[in-house]
């Protein structure tokens, strides 16, 4: 009658989400999903920022002005603002596998067509459309939140997000290298950069194929199959959107994420030029320093996610919020110092400290996001991710466009804005877990179940659509802190097969 419960390579909870995170395993479905999602996200980051290190060549080929270059930089991060929210809804409705692979294959033509751009306008347009692919961040986080259980979800989200973001740093090394090889074969440089763009474009396309062929939406299968067998209900877009949009915590996290991730994107676009101008370095040295800012993501963002999970074991959700506030505020402090320091070695040290704290704050943010909503996880992830890009656009517009502020003044002011825009974290309050200043509510109905099931209407509950949220609410009791082991495991599981 009922098929035997599937055996997983990793220990799982009642939703079949993995309770352990094993980095060097590629076991299906959990760790395989992890590797597919971070590699495809990495490819999108490489493509979106591929132009940045080659701008000195492109600006002469296309006759760009500083304003054109600044506008293209802003365009590259603004497309993803709405794309991330849309991606969130798409994940809720179609599943992360189809949503991310579709976006990646739909934006690959923009990367291929970068090779044939011939004017400032066409350059801006290809950077704008390529930037849409940064919405794969949302599908990455959604996929990890679907595959990994509460005790490790911060780690999974942090490593996947961080290693994807790494693409922004890696591209500053990859693209000049590819360009150099092509030029050394004998191709004139105004053609060599065009050929170089085929590399990130092909990488992006192949990663999308891998996601489609080897990926799976949830531990139990794909959305399509699960919907047909009745295990996953086909949800209504309007309600998914409504419950995500009306959750004030999503909006606060969108704002604060704009001042860790948004700041990171803005700095990616201006830091090479800052070192080049202020300390008179040559372009390749400035590029290496710029790359190291992005490459810190290898450990700093995952570190934030891991820290979030460690703190949650003892202090629950309140610990996650306090740590996020403290780390992001420290990031703001280092940013202020960076604008003031006048020596090269001092600047590099402060910049690295700044990058570690700001990227860790990104990881810590997505230790909180999976708990804001269960039904509308995609929409909340999308809003937060979109907020990150809004922060990047706003920061570049206010401080780094035109000649109103010198770059060092802009950086100091950006640091002050980070500290101010992190304060709203104090307003986040979960009735069942508390907030930064208040403990959990003493009322009888202040439970995880009540919080997550309030997202479903009674007629939907009658049809049993809310069962996944129910399981999640049971598993999330661990967010009360105090070493409560609440992760429910399938009762008929005798000994899970480990890899």
């Amino acid at each position: 009658m009922e098929s035997p419960p599937p055996k997983f390579a990793l220990p799982v909870d009642s939703e079949h989400k993995a309770t352990e995170f094993r980095l060097f395993s590629v076991a299906a479905p959990h760790m395989r999903a992890f590797h597919l999602s971070w590699v495809s996200f990495f490819a999108c980051f490489v493509s979106s920022f591929a132009a940045a290190p080659l701008v000195p060549i492109i600006r002469d080929n296309l006759n760009l002005t500083s304003t054109d270059i600044g506008n293209a930089g802003i365009a590259s991060v603004s497309g993803a603002v709405f794309a991330r929210v849309a991606m969130g809804s798409a994940c809720d409705l179609f599943g992360p596998r189809l949503a991310s692979a579709s976006l990646i294959l739909l934006t690959a033509p923009a990367v291929f067509c970068s090779s044939i751009s011939s004017s400032p306008t066409s350059f801006l347009l290809v950077r704008f459309f390529t930037g849409f692919s940064l919405a794969t961040f949302v599908s990455t986080q959604f996929w990890m939140s679907s595959m990994f259980s509460a005790p490790v979800v911060g780690t999974a989200n942090g490593v996947a997000g961080g290693w994807g973001n790494l693409g922004g740093g890696a591209t500053q090394l990859i693209m000049p290298l590819v360009f150099g090889v092509i030029r050394d074969i004998g191709v004139v440089k105004f053609t060599a950069w065009r050929i170089a763009f085929f590399i990130p474009a092909l990488f992006q396309t192949l990663s999308a194929f891998a996601v489609l062929i080897f990926g799976q939406d949830m531990p139990d299968g794909n959305f399509h199959g699960l919907k047909k067998s009745g295990e996953k209900a086909k949800d209504k877009f309007s309600w998914v959107f409504y419950y995500g949009f009306t959750n004030y915590r999503g909006w606060i996290l969108a704002l604060t994420y704009g001042y860790c991730f948004g700041v990171e994107l803005a700095v990616d676009n201006i830091i090479a030029e800052y070192f080049y101008d202020r300390f008179n370095l040559n372009l390749s040295t400035a590029g290496i320093i710029a790359a190291s800012f992005g490459l810190a993501n290898l450990f700093s963002r995952p570190g934030g996610g891991i820290l979030s999970d460690i703190v949650a074991k003892r202090f629950g959700m309140r610990g996650r919020l306090w740590t996020l506030w403290a780390v992001q505020t420290l990031g703001g402090v280092f940013c202020i110092i960076l604008g003031q320091v006048g020596s090269l070695s001092g600047s590099i040290i402060v910049m690295i400290a700044f990058s570690v704290f700001v990227q860790a704050a990104c990881g810590l943010t997505f230790g909180v996001v999976p708990f804001v909503s269960r039904r509308s996880l995609g929409v909340v992830s999308g809003m937060t991710g979109g907020g990150g890009n809004v922060g990047a656009v706003v920061t570049q517009l206010i401080f780094f466009r035109g000649s109103k502020y010198s770059k060092q003044t802009g950086i100091t002011l950006m640091g002050i804005m980070i500290i101010c825009c992190t304060l709203p974290l104090f307003l986040i309050y979960f009735p069942q877990w508390g907030g930064m200043f208040c403990g959990p509510s003493k009322k009888a109905n202040a439970t995880e179940e009540e919080y997550y099931l309030s997202e479903w209407k009674s007629n939907e509950k009658e049809k049993g659509f809310h069962l996944a949220s129910l399981k999640f609410s049971e598993n999330s009791v661990s967010e009360r802190g105090g070493k409560v082991d609440s992760v429910t495991r399938p009762s008929d599981e005798t000994s899970p097969a480990h890899v």
Binding site: N63, L98, A101, A108, K189, I195, L202, T205, A208
Partner: protein, 208 residues
Amino acid sequence: MAARGILLASLLLFSCLAVTCYGIVLFSSLPSTLVVTASPKQGQVLKAGEDKITVTWGLNQSLPAGVDSTYKTIKLNLCYAPISQVDRRWRNTVENLAKDKTCQFLIVSRPYDGSNKAVQSFEGTVERDVPTATYFVRAYAYNSDNVEVAYGQTTDSHKTTDLFQVQAISGRHVSLDIASACFSAFSIVSLIGFFVVEKRRGKQSQQK
């Protein structure tokens, strides 16, 4: 005449002192002792990689003798006119020649022979990596320490006369255009293909 000569000589002396003191060569310290001409006329457009440019240079014969005693090498450069420097900080003109970005393309470099009073000339093709912009030609004279000691240019001191343009290559090729179009179409078509296969597989498993 003699006064002008003394003035020039003292300026030279002062600029040499300036160099020795700070190691920084300022453009305003260089005397304009070279006469430089270029073949393109005012407003003419040259095509990079195709058209030829002829430059001539020589010492201004009306100057007193001995002015060129330290010159060892002459380098002729293609330099950006002010209109091509607007809103392009990477082409800025600054006084410190080590940081000056006005002249980024070398046309020719030749050793200087003070005994040969004839005007030197060189004809070459405009390189393919020269961007679209408005230019003039400037020559720098270097001493044996490879430090600039004099200059000459085709335009006036405000860089407004005798400017010509270069039209760069686009860098595009028909083969690149076709490859971009094909790969783009391939991505979209393969996505549709995947959807079709998924739907068919879904129908098959339903029928079972």
